[in-house]
């Protein structure tokens, strides 16, 4: 086991390193780009509650470097991507140095080889994750010749997992064959095998495969029909016990897009035993979804939606749960004859039902955007009504408005913005009925000097959470961001920046103010792209 694990990693690494075999001088004849961003952040966290902060105290650096190269040699097009990250802030990354991207791509339009970071377009059920490995694709671009894709790799989310221990080693082997029949119909068959070679105690290991058939048909302009059917067979090792499961998943979708309407209908059914480790699916679900967007007039658009799904496909659970999520909305341009106005109204319902519990949550939202004199306004009012049997009954009201404008004063552009928002929540089922409030207000100013290529934004504000049955929380904050593209860095699209913020958290929960804390942060940095 140990030797084969090492051999897999060595072969994979050797294949990926082959991208480096091509002399760098080849890149010099073509096109390459180098991008880098270096920033140094100094954080200061103080106060008895500083453990609640998400900042790392002290001075930390973060550098992100990326190198791209594209070129052509006779009929062969190629490209390389190498990227890395360096930081001494464990909250940015536990590794000081890490490889973030490593890929070589070679293609003569018929044969395409990708080594390193690999992600291929299989169907959603079969493959929806990237691997560290390689893929080969054959595209003959002739009518009766199918497109073939082969893939192999380890499903690591980071390159360091390849040479450090402590991560699940998940091998993915896949293949796809796709045939187009005319211009309107295509069908594809894909197979993906997943084997967990090295797991960690307490984690579930899988080994098995999925086979998926997917098709797309466009019978008339504006109408697209899609279907996907998948079968899986997997073994699972959990807490030392091995079991097997097999299942299937099917989905049909029809999309009609011809103004004034866009309609989509979808049906999906996934059995409880269906497993796809490298793809995406939620097992034990049957679902119907419909959406209709209707442009009633040039200025009025209606949106209707409905989603229903349930579990316990084979009645294998003691209690089946059904979910209903209908929604309706209307968007009106130039209501009341106002030239710059847009109004949106939506109503969404979230119902969950089983034999013991019923949930009915209502969400109503009104948004109105308009221009009043020199100010652009954006206002929102929403109502959320929560109702779950014996668990929650609450009403929440959210309201906010922002006013912004733009003024040119000589070479300077000023963009003031003011914001006020609030939230009121009534909780009825708590032992003591309570009403809580949140108020937030802020003022900001954007300052741009185009001749100097400087943009900046400044903002101060306060957020107050006022709780009837518990302590209040108050956060006072200030932010400043300054970006400068100096002339001397124009060739490299260079930019210098400074970002700073202060957050001051105060709590009334503990009379000794044990949870108060303040965060001060300043980041200076530079980036360029050559």
């Amino acid at each position: 086991m140990e030797k084969s694990h090492l051999l897999r990693r060595l072969l994979l690494w050797a294949a990926c390193c082959s991208v480096c075999a091509v002399p760098v001088t080849v890149c010099a004849e073509n096109e390459f780009h180098l991008g880098n961003e270096l920033s140094i952040t100094t954080n200061d966290v103080s106060g008895p509650g500083k453990a609640q902060s998400s900042l790392t105290k002290g001075a930390r650096y973060l550098d992100v470097l990326n190198f791209y190269c594209n070129g052509r040699s006779n009929q062969l097009e190629y490209g390389y991507t190498i990227g890395g990250k360096a930081t001494d802030d464990q909250l940015n990354d536990s590794k000081t140095f890490s490889l973030t991207n490593f890929q070589g791509r070679f293609s003569n339009k018929v044969h395409t080889l990708v080594l390193g970071d690999t992600f291929e377009s299989f169907s959603q059920y079969s493959l929806n994750t990237a691997v560290k490995g390689g893929a080969y694709k054959f595209t003959a671009n002739r009518r009766n010749t199918p497109e073939v894709t082969l893939l192999y790799g380890l499903a690591y989310s980071r390159w360091d997992n390849l040479w450090t221990s402590g991560a699940m080693e998940r091998q993915v082997i896949g293949g796809r064959i796709r045939q187009s029949v005319g211009d309107d119909f295509s069908i594809a068959l894909s197979g993906v095998q997943t084997i967990d070679h090295m797991g960690m105690p307490g984690l579930t290991l899988y080994d098995g495969h999925t086979f998926t058939l997917d098709a797309e048909y466009r019978p008339i302009p504006g109408l697209t029909l899609r279907s996907e059917a998948s079968f899986s067979n997997y073994g699972k090792t959990e807490t030392g016990a091995y079991s097997t499961s097999d299942g299937n998943a099917v989905r049909f979708e029809a999309v009609g897009d011809a103004d004034p309407s866009r309609v989509s209908l979808e049906y999906e059914r996934i059995t409880p035993g269906y497993v796809t480790i490298a793809g995406s699916a939620t097992p034990d679900r049957e679902k119907v979804k419909a959406r209709w967007r209707y442009k009633y007039t040039k200025n009025v658009t209606y949106n209707f939606g409905f989603l229903w799904f349930h579990d316990s496909i084979f009645d294998q659970k003691a209690d089946r749960t059904d979910h209903y999520k209908p929604e309706v909305g209307v968007s009106i341009k130039r209501p009341f004859g106002r030239q710059y106005a847009v109004a949106d109204v939506t109503y969404k319902l979230d119902t969950v039902y089983n034999s013991t519990t019923t949930t009915n949550d209502h969400f109503i939202n009104f948004t109105y955007r308009d221009r009043f004199g020199i100010f652009d306004s954006d206002s929102n009012f929403s109502i959320a009504l929560y109702d779950t049997t014996d668990s929650r009954r609450a009403q929440e009201y959210t309201y906010n408005t922002s006013l912004s404008s733009r003024h040119t004063v000589g070479p300077v552009i000023l963009k003031p913005v003011f914001y006020f928002g609030g939230w009121t929540a009534n909780e009825e089922l708590a032992i003591a009925r309570t009403t809580d409030y949140i108020f937030e207000y802020s003022g900001g100013l954007g300052v741009e000097v185009p001749t100097w290529k400087v943009t900046s934004s400044w903002k101060i504000g306060e957020n107050r959470l006022l709780k009837e049955a518990a302590g209040d929380t108050m956060k006072t904050y200030g932010q400043a961001n300054i970006y400068w593209r100096p002339e001397f860095a124009a060739k490299t699209q260079g930019m210098l920046f400074v970002r700073a913020f202060i957050n001051d958290y105060r709590y009334s929960l503990n009379s000794a103010n044990a949870e108060n804390f303040r965060e001060n942060s300043v980041t200076v940095g530079a980036n360029f792209l050559y």
């Binding site: 998400s54 291929e120 105690p201 008339i220 897009d257 103004d259 995406s280 939620t282 109204v345």
Partner: protein, 482 residues
């Protein structure tokens, strides 16, 4: 209250229905044209042809299947629609679009990169009349944008909308065929905004991989803090997760997310389609909007159960009920106690005793995850020593702290979650009788008790022998007991 609100909603809908509409304003874009041949609507990649202006650039990565789609509907005054042709090279050549009987048409082509495409669209009726072709002239350039910048732009916009608690702005960046259903994510983020206040969320990219014209896979490290609207407490956590973006009619939009989620925590069971490995405590939200931070082992159980509940206790702890029992957790995500007592953190702990003997180069080390002695590598390795101590180097990415002499790992319930030190350019003495905690490069924890360390020159060379007991928590929790 509800009936009043329902009445208000239907009143507004009724107002919209009664809004006066010009006779032919039911059709899009080209409005009240007097031309005999015109377009009811014309789209470029599902966006209005007119709104993109006479010149436009399109990122290559945003093209579905790498193709540009032109579609629309022809309107004729007399007769029928005769045909629709598209030119992509400034009228040098024309190609027929696929045309239906009702006048709808579509045309797809694969553009060359970084080349200006000059488009014209020509429609004719059966009596020979043609639309004003010059009005349809458009220069389109497909640019090979730095994909990192495109993906980061989308992630930055999603985070900005989430921090601003703006569901409409957020959902504009969600694909309509989101894998966990866009409606589920929409409801979940609205519930997040009820549960959270003062949302602060930052990330760095670990990896970005894409299919040309298709999906983008992003692995990220995130770091966030939120204030619970219910309790008023502030929670912070950090971890890693994976997100897939894809081109859609809205542009690059979010397609799927794995646990631990950074958006839609209130309905993680429906929003997430998969899980990443978790080694740190994670913020979770139950169905009532109660926020709590739970250790990795509890989070993994929540993912399996798909449901859980949280009760806030008077002493500031919270009790999380899952199918296997209940965990009482502290505010920092560590476990205070477990019910029933049969639930064991120790189930995922690996332990043992090892003798490390250094006799010269290469150095001898130890790999906690494998439980093996190593040569020249490992989480730490010995290069020398002295009486009662071994001189060692800590591996890059790992950190340690000395817990002192009064601690035996047999009874040590957990490793500290903070206070670790890295050694840059310097070694550290591991002393007999001391217990050390390690935070490894994988983010997981290990404990080591040095029972003895000795130095000998009996063979004429320095031999360092260190005897140690160790524990390694494979689950990633800092908790080792019970």
């Amino acid at each position: 209250m509800k009936s009043l609100l329902s009445y208000l909603v239907f009143m507004l809908l009724g107002l919209a229905l009664l809004t006066p509409s010009p006779a032919d304003a039911k059709w899009w874009i080209f409005g009240q044209s007097n031309e005999e041949v015109s377009f009811s609507y014309l789209n470029l990649n599902r966006f209005s042809y007119d709104e993109s202006g006479p010149k436009t650039s399109i990122p290559k990565g945003s093209l579905a299947d790498g193709q540009i789609l032109i579609n629309g509907k022809v309107k004729v005054g007399k007769g029928n629609v005769g045909g629709v042709r598209i030119s992509t090279n400034n009228k040098e050549n024309w190609q027929d679009a696929k045309l239906a009987d009702d006048g709808t048409f579509e045309f797809r082509f694969t553009p060359d990169l970084n080349k200006v495409i000059v488009l014209y669209v020509e429609a004719t009726d059966t009596v020979g009349k043609v639309n004003d072709v010059e009005k349809t002239r458009k220069e389109v350039t497909i640019v090979d944008s730095n994909l990192q910048e495109v993906a980061r732009g989308v992630l930055d916009a999603l985070i900005a909308a989430y921090r601003a608690e703006d569901p409409a702005a957020f959902m504009r960046l969600v694909s309509e065929d989101y894998a966990g259903d866009a409606a589920n994510l929409d409801r979940a983020i609205r519930k997040d905004f009820s549960a959270f206040d003062n949302i602060d969320l930052r990330y760095t990219l670990n990896n970005l991989t894409y299919v040309p014209g298709g999906k983008i896979f992003a692995a990220i490290n995130y770091n966030r803090s939120v204030t619970s609207s219910r309790s008023g407490k502030t929670f912070s956590d950090n971890g890693s997760t994976e997100i897939v973006l894809k081109p859609s009619e809205k542009g690059i939009a979010i397609f799927s997310m794995k646990n631990p989620l950074i958006f839609g925590l209130s309905d993680a069971a429906e929003v997430a389609t998969g899980s990443s490995a978790v080694s740190q405590p994670v913020i979770v939200v139950d169905a009532r909007g109660t926020v709590v931070k739970v250790p990795a082992v509890v989070f993994n159980q929540i993912v399996k159960d798909e449901t859980f509940s949280v009760t806030t206790n008077a002493d500031g702890t919270s009790t999380v009920a899952v199918s296997t029992g209940s965990y009482t957790v502290n505010a920092d995500g560590t476990v205070k106690n477990v019910t029933p007592a049969t639930i064991r953190y120790s189930a995922t702990v690996e332990s043992g005793s090892v003798n490390l003997v250094y006799t010269g180069q290469p150095p001898v080390g130890f790999d906690f995850a494998r439980g093996e002695t190593t040569t020249g590598t490992g989480d730490f390795f010995i290069t020398g020593g002295g009486p009662d101590k071994a001189y060692s180097w800590i591996a890059n990415g790992a950190s340690y702290q000395d817990l002192g002499t009064a601690v035996a790992i047999a009874t040590l319930g957990s490793a500290p979650t903070s206070g670790y030190r890295t050694t840059t350019g310097m070694g550290v003495y591991l002393e007999a009788g001391h217990t050390y905690a390690f935070k490894l490069g994988s983010g997981k924890y290990a404990l080591m008790e040095v029972t003895s360390a000795s130095e000998s020159f009996a063979t004429g060379m320095m031999v360092i022998t260190m005897r140690m007991k160790y524990k390694y928590q494979a689950s990633g929790d800092a908790q080792f007991l019970p």
